[in-house]
Every structure is written in structure tokens, then in C-alpha cells.
Subunit: 228 residues, 2 copies
């Protein structure tokens, strides 16, 4: 009964893709149904959270028996618009761009790198895997044909904002930014930043902490062999 009009929290959207991945796995394994309690162990997300997340979008299960794996997978894919082909423009044909272009995981989710751009004259016209590296200047022109709505920014920090602006000008409405630089988001354009250093910083911060399960002055618990 919830449906749309209430805005969906971003953490919910993030978890939706975790559910989707797990459901694809189950489907491949031939599992037909699951109960919400069964997603806890493999995904690390609580059953209550799972049901709450789904409740933003409608009803998906049968009280008493659970969810049909294929049906749920299909419906989550639809919610995330990953049930239809999505074209992606990749800007930056360096090492990271090359890795992203070659990433074998896209196709399963209907994501397709439609074109690769760079501003380096030494690279333009050469090939990156199966793509011809196109002049960044041709971005808008090329996307007039393609109509891609998603762009990946895999360029040095200095170039990130200008690339973002060009992508938006070319009609892109979602940006995935790998450059270590903040992107001023144009209104109505979604931005996701992936910051390698940020991820590392959270890890290094936690270094040297003692394992939280056993306090330094505590004796080992007796029931050590129990659970897991």
C-alpha cells in the first residue's frame, strides 16, 4: 500500500541491488522460493530491513510461504530499471577506464558501455578493447544518436568537473564519478562518487583497534566452539 510518492531512502536502493544479486544467484542455483529470514546470513541484512525495503514498492511475498525468487528478482530489476538496456558513456581511456570497459559484470544487468571518450590526442582513434576511443569534443554529437543517460567519469581530478558538465550537456542524467574530486551536481542529475582514498581512509582509521568481541581484560568465553 505504500507505493511511490514517498521518497525512497538511498540505503534502501543500495540494498535493493544486493537483493538482486543474491536472487540471481539463487535463480541460477534453481531455488524457487525464499523466506525473508533466509536472506540474513548470505547478505548480512536483517529480515525486517528486507521486508521494509520492499514495502516501499508494493507487496512481493505470500504470508506464510515467502517469495518466488524469479518473480522477486524480476520485480526488483524493474524497480531499478535494470530490466531494460541502459547505455553508458565512458569518459577516460586510462587504466581505470580500460578496467571499467572490460568489466564483465555489466551485461548481466543490462548495462552497456556504448562509447568511450578521451581528450588525449595520442589515444583518440585508437582502440580500447572493442571500442574506438572518440574525441571528447564529439560527446554531444555522438550521444545525439545514442541517447545514453548514464556517464562514467574516469579522468584525472582536474578534468572531472568539465567532463561532468559535458556529459550533462549531452543529455546524461546520472554520473558515476571515479575522479578524486567533488562534482558540483547539476540540478536533476544524480551523482555517485567512488573514492578509492575515502574507502582506504575508513579502513586505516580502524587499524589498531582491538577486536570488539573480546575486551582486553576478559577471559575467552567458554562456549567458544558454538555458533558459526
Amino acid at each position: 500500500m505504500a507505493r511511490s510518492s514517498v521518497v525512497v531512502p538511498t540505503p534502501t536502493l543500495e540494498r535493493l541491488s544486493t537483493y538482486l544479486r543474491y536472487l540471481l544467484e539463487l535463480e541460477r542455483a534453481g531455488v524457487e522460493t525464499i523466506r525473508s529470514a533466509e536472506i540474513e546470513e548470505p547478505t548480512g541484512i536483517s529480515a525486517a530491513q528486507f521486508r521494509k525495503d520492499l514495502s516501499y514498492f508494493g507487496e512481493f511475498g505470500k504470508p506464510g510461504s515467502g517469495y518466488y525468487v524469479s518473480e522477486l528478482r524480476a520485480r526488483i530489476a524493474t524497480i531499478l530499471k535494470l530490466d531494460r538496456d541502459q547505455l553508458v558513456l565512458l569518459v577516460g581511456a586510462g587504466n581505470l577506464g580500460a578496467a571499467l570497459a572490460a568489466f564483465p559484470g555489466w551485461a548481466q544487468y543490462h548495462l552497456h558501455i556504448a562509447a568511450v571518450f578521451d581528450n588525449n590526442i595520442a589515444k583518440i582513434g585508437r582502440r580500447l578493447w572493442d571500442w574506438e576511443i572518440l574525441d571528447i569534443e564529439r560527446l554531444a554529437e555522438v550521444n545525439e544518436k545514442l541517447g545514453a543517460e548514464i556517464g562514467i567519469i574516469a579522468v584525472p581530478a582536474e578534468a572531472a568537473q568539465s567532463v561532468a558538465d559535458r556529459l550533462v550537456a549531452a543529455g546524461v542524467r546520472g554520473l558515476l564519478n571515479f575522479a578524486p574530486a567533488g562534482i558540483r551536481p547539476a540540478p536533476g542529475v544524480a551523482v555517485r562518487n567512488v573514492s578509492l582514498v575515502q574507502e582506504m581512509a575508513v579502513l586505516t582509521y580502524h587499524l589498531g583497534e582491538r577486536s570488539c568481541n573480546r575486551l582486553p581484560d576478559e577471559e575467552p568465553a567458554e562456549d567458544e566452539t558454538e555458533a558459526e
Copy 2:
């Protein structure tokens, strides 16, 4: 007066690296002091949030005048343990591993890829940039010398958990996982997952939404040329 003993929220840690990056930029530009209000525009983080974040770690500024850029930068780096050299083990010498190894941004934050491992016999013994690709079987042995505490997982999904286990067994306490697979975290080991598909899913979900700043039936605002 807050200091430690209160647990620091992860969003705060994530923002800390944003502050650090911006402060490094200011430092390079020769800026000596900033006020909290000045970080809003470039970082997109509110001044109140900035001060609140810092308050978890002590006092950093001078009421009335603001913060010394160099001092604040140094202290944030220390908090994140990015003021000292941090060795990192990279597992997976594929395209993504190659890009991560070559990433020019690590050094500035004292992060160093110390060794590269793979399980592919065709790759072992060959070079990846300046590194020799080592047999994954040698992980523990090699890290006995190195003592690295951070590991990057850049392998296919099927191998992710086993690589994680090996890294932990070799003494690693922080994992940065790029494999599209959930890692069951060992107790006391921090895990950060970077999921390309998840990032994309959040973007594709938002496709087709109308720009939130202007409702469909509203006229353009009069003061259009103002601000920015």
C-alpha cells in the same frame, strides 16, 4: 572535550577524507586559514556538520578566526592514520587490479601497494607495472616480512571469500572488496565494499525523474541570474 571512547559514525569518517582532500588542495594553493562556512560550497558539506565531525576528535579551530589549513590537514591525516606509510596487498592482477596498482592517488596519502598476488599460473612470475605477480599461495609467507594490514580484493566473485580469508589469515585487518560478492567479515576485520553495479543501480533508478527544483506546473523563477 569529546575525544575517543564514543564511537565515531562512519559517515563522519567518510567526510573526514573529503576534508583532507580539500585541505591538501588549499595547502597547495597557499591558503593559510579557513572558516567552517568556507567548506560548504566546495565540499557540499554543511559548516555545522564539519564542526560536529571534528568535535569527535578534539578542538581544531580558533573561535573568531577559523582553522589553520596545514595544522588541520595534518591532524585529520593523523586521525585517519594517513600520516604514516600504509602497506597494501593487492590480490588480483586483472584489468581492475592493474588500474588500482597504477592509481597515482595512493602515494599522496601514504598508501603503497606492497605486493600483487594472483592465482593464475599464466600470470605468476610476470610483471604488473613494477611489481612481480606473486602466487596467492605465498600470501601469508610474503606478508610475514611486509606486515601489511590492508588488502584489496580485485578478483572474480567466486574467489572473493577465499581471498578474504587468506588475507585475514596473513594478518590483514582491513579489506577493500571490489568483487561483486558479499564478504563474510571476520570479527575485528573492517570491510568496505565497492560495488560498480550497486552504484549504477542507484543512478538508473533515478532516471526519468523530473528535476526536483522546478515543478512541472511552475513558471521559471524571476531571479534566475542570481547566485552561483
